[in-house]
Symmetry: C2
Subunit: 338 residues, 2 copies
């Protein structure tokens, strides 16, 4: 018999605190209990999995950074020099960086940096399909396989992140395609932008998302492949598999949420295992989360990616698991009050 949200709320109200006094922390605890179907949820082992890939669309001038940054930062994440690497060390969360298609393959040999390259970046989605169906399937399978491996290692909480110069353009297209967001609202500054790069981004998203929409009737997969990135598709595959395995998925920012839209489109219902860690500075993010029925926990205007927003929430998720499991019950101390 399934544990209901009402039963979870009743449990939280038996703890030695005024009912509801932990506010949204109770909402977080309740969602975790519901995902794990347990009043004693466990968040560890947790893993940080970062998917990295490049985007042909950077040829359009939509990003201020060169594609090589994807490779260099993928290496830094593995080495622990990135913000996400520092945080995963601090919070004692093992990390893996999955190269699903950087333009320049990493030089670094490191056990945390895994080669699952589909190809050297997507095609330019401004003018052609970002990937073929075969490439979509290969990227998806990378994510599924990673999720299966994580389950074999016993992982309960999956913190997913990405690195991919140009990928906010792809995410914007997916927001338009899968969450009915208007093009103007779908565009943000990403990792940095000028008026010129924003205008180019807007023009590209307008054209490419329209093209993708016309393909929806054939198959949704074809429409998604038209504008997606390898790291987004891999993350979506991971999410679908992780949800089947009843793992808890901590969503990061606008790219991870674009992947969640893809996951939900391909396998409706998998959103039930997701927790929206934060609301990013990207304007499309709130609309995407609303489309998925998720309410973000932190609102710190972060826009770094690499899973950093999801990492920020992790110790608070762990806190929720701890207090909802270990706090004394009112009944255990009631005799002292007589």
């Amino acid at each position: 018999m399934a544990l209901t949200l009402e039963q979870i709320a009743a449990h939280l109200n038996l703890l030695a605190k005024p009912p509801g006094s932990l506010g949204r922390w109770e909402e977080l605890a309740a969602r975790l209990c519901f995902i794990q179907q347990s009043l004693q949820p466990e968040v560890r082992p947790a893993e940080l999995v970062i998917f990295a890939a490049d985007h042909g669309v950077v040829a359009e001038g939509v990003s201020l950074w060169p594609s090589l940054v994807t490779t260099v930062m993928a290496e830094q994440i593995a080495l622990g020099g990135s913000v996400s690497g520092v945080l995963s060390d601090l919070y004692e969360i093992p990390r893996r960086v999955i190269d699903v298609g950087t333009k320049t393959a990493p030089e670094l040999k490191n056990p945390m940096l895994i080669d699952r390259r589909v190809s050297a970046g997507t095609k330019n989605l401004a003018t052609e399909s970002a990937m073929t169906i075969e490439e979509f399937d290969k990227a998806w399978r990378s994510g599924v396989d990673e999720a299966i491996e994580s389950r074999h290692r016993g992982a309960k909480t999956m913190i997913l992140g990405e690195m991919g110069i140009g990928n906010t353009t792809s995410a914007s297209c997916l927001g338009v395609l899968l969450a009915n967001i208007g093009v103007a609202q779908a565009i943000g500054q990403g990792a940095g932008a000028t008026d010129d790069s924003l205008r180019k981004k807007r023009d590209v998203v307008e054209v490419a998302s329209h093209r993708a929409k016309t393909l929806w009737g054939e198959t949704p997969k074809l429409a998604i492949a038209e504008v997606a990135g390898f790291e987004i598709v891999a993350m979506a595959g991971f999410m679908v598999q992780a949800a089947e395995q009843s793992q808890t998925i901590l969503l990061d920012g606008v790219i991870a949420t674009a992947a969640a839209l893809v996951a939900e489109a391909m396998s409706p219902g998998c959103v039930k295992c997701m927790i929206a860690a934060h609301q990013s500075a990207e304007p499309a993010h709130r609309l995407m989360l609303a489309h998925l029925g998720l309410t973000p926990m932190l609102d710190w205007s972060m826009r770094l990616g690499e899973g950093t927003g999801a990492l920020a929430l992790f110790p608070l998720l762990e806190g929720a698991a701890a207090w909802c499991t270990r706090t004394a019950s009112i009944s255990s101390i009631a005799h002292r009050l007589l």
Copy 2:
């Protein structure tokens, strides 16, 4: 030569991430660097110090809970059965519970539960001075002594909390007295309320804060003593001493912030060492924080007290210290991008 906010911002912009991309996490890191006057801030050792005391004003029916709850929960905090106790264990933060005047002295003998009792609770502030000047000084001194001891133990971050049935009434009076908040805005539901208890609370705050205001001309201390609580005065004394010792003070909710108002009134400038961990569900809290020039980091509608809101922010403060110290600089990876 002092480290300026501009120098700190320049340092954060040299790290391997888009400038400003960590949003409010950068604001938190910058404030921590500024308090510690270091670009490599350290947050540990950290300590949780909870002051507990009772309030004669509960005789007016302002709270739904009996004073004995203060004693029982003080014991539970020490034992680790309260939410704050669970979190301090999880986040590996040693805790101390300082009894500065519970109505019923704790039965528990425990090294984490310290007896610094001023008396068995304050007088009923609805009808008379909550405490004498001698009692104010004794409570204040308890806080100062605790801060000095914490410094001897090397503590860098002080997480302050409180337990005291009836203390939101006292905090509301202090908000009216010290932050010019209107009586209607100063009243919230505290740990739980009915229409009847809220009406009583409002009437009491109206009368008592007016009485306190008339005493301000004699000395501020006399006015504060008229409506304060022992745990609030002790916490204020702690804050003033901790600020002199350049420790970082994590503010919890409306009671801790009332103590911060007292601290700032008694020793202007000590707010520079404070960080507002969260915005509580109490309506007066935002106004008090604004009066102090502080912007809360979390907004989760918490209203438990016991330092739980400050504990929630601690791992994120630790995260800020970590990423601003250990993230690779752009210059260290720039050669890879050529």
